[in-house]
């Protein structure tokens, strides 16, 4: 392995040789990139289920792919398969993927149509209890649903489909899950365990209960009309996030192995940083210390200083809390210069793709590098004086060598990634 195949800290350099993406804006990198840079929104009125009586009736659902039955794990699997197919195809790897699978999947549980079917099968009238549902399950008529509603099935099926090696990892770090999937792949390659890793984040969980759960925590925007104006990251009038769906997959490879097989390298994962926060279940430490530590950790891991960051792909959910804390964190680490570093949130167009977000935004970060263009943040009409940042409002062309991508989640999860066009010398 030559010097060029080692990173700044002397570890195997991790290259990205394939990426795939599905969001409400479309299937594939080309379609998504065109829409994202044109400032098109994928957020619309929910058609998948009745929204009567709901405070939030909009989302960035992926309506052009479906699953049977239409439940979160099946949809998530469908999106993941589409993204992985694209990524592996671009990487030029065959049907047996030469490495492990790390996949961020939404937590799984039985959904209402299935509960209803069990209740009906039990012939329960009046009171319905879980004893009735259990009795129905005992008829063996619903045995197929076991695999549908356990946590490991999505990974199992994706592993089968693409022939990944070893035991696949299904993981959650809430809304930073997609970034964690990538971090796990990076670490495995750096350890020399594998020459390639398939890292996926996927989420197809826009259903009534998931939406209502976030709504009850006052996390969602309630500005339903017009839908495309609801997600307002960094704006003073931001009032919550909009749920989104989608998936993204990255093929990571040991750069030496990628070069040896003549693969085209799209960019590098230069650094990963993470830090836990024990302040509160849904809120960040008021001083922003964990966010700051995660950003610093990613820069240190990349072996670069904050002056090297050309643009920030923000977590930027559009909740009052997140955007304020993210700005505080970026300003603390990048200093005064941060005021003029272009920052943008893809969530303004595709909504918050939750489990998938870190992976989707990693893919967009790599496209940003490839095209030298930063996609806009929609709906930034009323700047927030408390957030003195250069929020990109229409696609901006600039040479981008290095991107910082932030992901933060409930439960004190903070994960930041640094992507680069070139290795750090």
């Amino acid at each position: 392995m030559s010097r060029a195949d080692r990173d700044a800290l002397g570890r195997p350099l991790v290259a990205v040789t394939g990426l795939g993406i599905v969001t409400s804006l479309g299937i594939g990198a080309a379609e998504n990139w065109a829409a994202l840079t044109a400032g098109r929104s994928g957020i619309h009125a929910i058609r998948r289920f009745p929204t009567t009586g709901l405070r939030t009736r909009i989302a960035g659902t992926v309506d052009f792919l479906d699953a049977e039955p239409m439940v979160a794990p099946a949809l998530s699997e469908r999106f993941a398969a589409s993204a992985a197919e694209e990524a592996i195809g671009q990487a030029g790897l065959g049907r047996a993927f030469p490495g492990a699978l790390f996949i961020a999947v939404p937590p799984v549980e039985m959904e209402w149509p299935q509960r209803q079917a069990l209740a009906e099968a039990a012939g329960a009238y009046g009171e319905v209890t879980y004893a009735d549902l259990l009795r129905a399950a005992g008829t063996r008529r619903f045995d197929d649903w076991h695999d549908l509603f356990i946590f490991g099935t999505v990974a199992d099926r994706i592993a089968d489909r693409f022939g990944t090696r070893g035991s696949p990892i299904s993981l959650s770090t809430a809304c930073s899950s997609g970034a964690t999937a990538i971090q796990l792949g990076v670490e495995a390659i750096r350890r020399g365990e594998m020459a390639a890793a398939l890292c996926v984040g996927t989420d197809g969980s826009v259903n009534p209960e998931s939406l209502i759960r976030f709504s009850l925590l006052s996390a969602l925007s309630t500005q339903n009309d017009p839908p495309e104006a609801a997600s307002k990251p960094f704006a003073k009038n931001r009032d919550g996030f909009v749920m989104g769906e989608g998936a993204a997959a990255l093929v990571l490879e040991d750069a030496a192995a990628a070069r040896a097989r003549g693969a085209r390298i799209l960019g590098y994962v230069l650094g990963c940083g993470e830090k836990g926060d024990g302040f509160h279940r849904t809120r960040s430490s008021p001083d922003g210390a964990p966010i700051i530590a995660a950003i610093r950790g990613a820069l240190d891991d990349a072996g670069i200083g904050p002056e090297r960051i050309d643009t920030v792909n923000a977590h930027g959910t559009g909740t009052p809390e997140n955007d304020k804390m993210e700005a505080l964190g970026c300003l603390a680490v990048l200093g005064e210069r941060m005021r003029s570093v272009p920052i943008s949130s893809n969530k303004s167009m595709i909504g918050h793709t939750l489990t998938a977000a870190g992976a989707v935004e990693a893919a967009v970060s790599l496209l940003t590098i490839a095209h030298g263009r930063v996609p806009p943040t929609l709906n930034y009409a009323v700047p927030d004086p408390a957030i003195p940042l250069d929020v990109v409002t229409s696609a901006r062309d600039l040479p981008v060598a290095t991107v910082l991508s932030n992901s933060f989640g409930f439960g004190g999860q903070n994960t930041c990634l640094v992507f680069g066009a070139e290795p750090v010398a």
């Binding site: 937590p107 009171e127 197929d144 209960e209 409930f410």
Partner: protein
């Protein structure tokens, strides 16, 4: 870089009781574990021993915001931190990383039942569902259900805030939590980790998922390897956490290792007759297992795979005493591998075994082998 990985703290709670001694006593004694065959009849479960939660979760407000699976996990994590001499060291815990193997939290059965009853007669079912969910779900229940919120609560209650990752995927999640933690420490990517899982079996919603598929043993307890009459698992409530660290890190802070985590190997093979036995044989070799005198099996009791695992262990470890974890703690799904590793470490530390190997075969997928040696022995 390859560093030795040692275990410096264990935290265990299950139907066998609380703490290492209670579990070693149960291991030594054998016999029938505590079982409740009545509450969820015809499905027996192994209920967790009563715990004095205040001992590890001092704030009532924290206890209230958690569901039982989280309380069990936070409690056991606290025991492990105490045992590792880490509990009072805020700086140490602030740098400690966490890997949790978990599923999700419990539903509100009363709300579900009322909604299902109402849906049957509702004219506009969609509107009815929306209205009831919006009005009846407790807003914070979501935070007791999210998979990563056991890790989140460990950060809040114990101040373990390096960073956490939650692995999902039933039995494999537990094996892989140990495997990845071991690999990260061995490679020098991290020095100190808390790893474990928890499971609450006393829940109708998980019984339902596993009754679909017919994976539950009923109506009574029989030892795991003697369930040919009615194969399946009996779920157990409990939690197991281990503090793992680089041997040199433990030495530097003066922590006495309990045992050495020598190897964790896992795979996922397509299930056909013979595949479990072949996978275990291959993992056995990969883990460097030689002649263990203790084999702890996390076998489920499910048809086919349990017998196959039994045969494989008889061939691979002919001289070993074989213990089924399910006969001690019940089947704890994501927590089974951490339980096996912790029990093996405790047995080795107590001089009850020289080399212990844990086998973990998932009821649907995934095989794992974990090898534990005395702290003083080279890996």
């Amino acid at each position: 870089m390859t560093r030795d990985v040692v275990i410096t703290g264990l935290g265990l709670v299950s139907c066998a009781g609380e703490g290492v001694t209670a579990h070693l006593d149960a291991l030594r004694a054998g016999g029938t574990p505590r079982v409740d065959a009545a509450t969820f009849a015809p499905y027996p479960v192994h209920p967790v021993a009563p715990l004095a939660l205040d001992g590890q979760i001092p704030k009532k407000s924290d206890q209230r915001q958690m569901e039982p699976w989280q309380r069990l996990g936070v409690y056991a994590a606290g025991l492990a931190l105490d045992a590792a001499g880490a509990k009072a060291d805020a700086a140490l815990k602030a740098g400690m990383h966490l890997v949790v193997a978990a599923g999700g939290g419990e539903r509100d059965y009363a709300v579900d039942g009322q909604i299902l009853a109402g849906l049957a007669g509702a004219d506009d079912k969609g509107a009815f569902l929306n209205e009831r969910l919006q009005n009846d779900l407790r807003p914070t229940l979501f935070l007791a259900q999210l998979s990563n919120l056991l890790a989140g609560n460990i950060a809040i209650v114990h101040g373990v805030t390096g960073a956490s990752r939650t692995f999902m995927g039933e039995e494999s999640a537990g094996t892989d939590a140990l495997r990845i933690a071991h690999a990260r420490i061995a490679a020098g990517q991290v020095d100190l980790m808390l790893v474990g899982g928890s499971y609450n079996a006393e829940r109708a919603d998980v019984l339902l998922v596993h009754e679909m598929g017919g994976y539950l043993r009923k109506p009574d307890f029989r030892p795991v390897f003697e369930r040919d009459d009615a194969p399946g698992f009996i779920l157990g409530s409990g939690a197991a956490f281990l503090v793992l660290e680089a041997a040199d890190h433990a030495r530097a802070r003066g922590a006495a290792p309990v045992a050495r985590l020598a190897a964790v190997a896992s795979d996922r093979t397509r299930r056909v007759p013979g595949s479990v036995g072949a996978s275990l044989a291959s993992l056995w070799q990969g883990a460097g297992a030689t002649a263990p005198d203790l084999a702890i099996s996390a076998a489920t009791g499910c048809a086919g795979i349990t017998a196959e695992e039994g045969e494989a262990l008889a061939t691979l470890a002919p001289g070993a005493r074989r213990t089924a974890l399910g006969d001690l703690t019940g089947h704890t799904l994501e927590a089974a591998a951490p339980f096996g590793a912790a029990l093996a470490a405790a047995a080795v530390a107590a001089g009850a075994a020289r080399e212990a190997v844990v086998s973990v075969v998932g009821h649907r997928r995934g095989e794992g082998v974990i090898r534990i040696l005395p702290a003083t022995e080279a890996a």
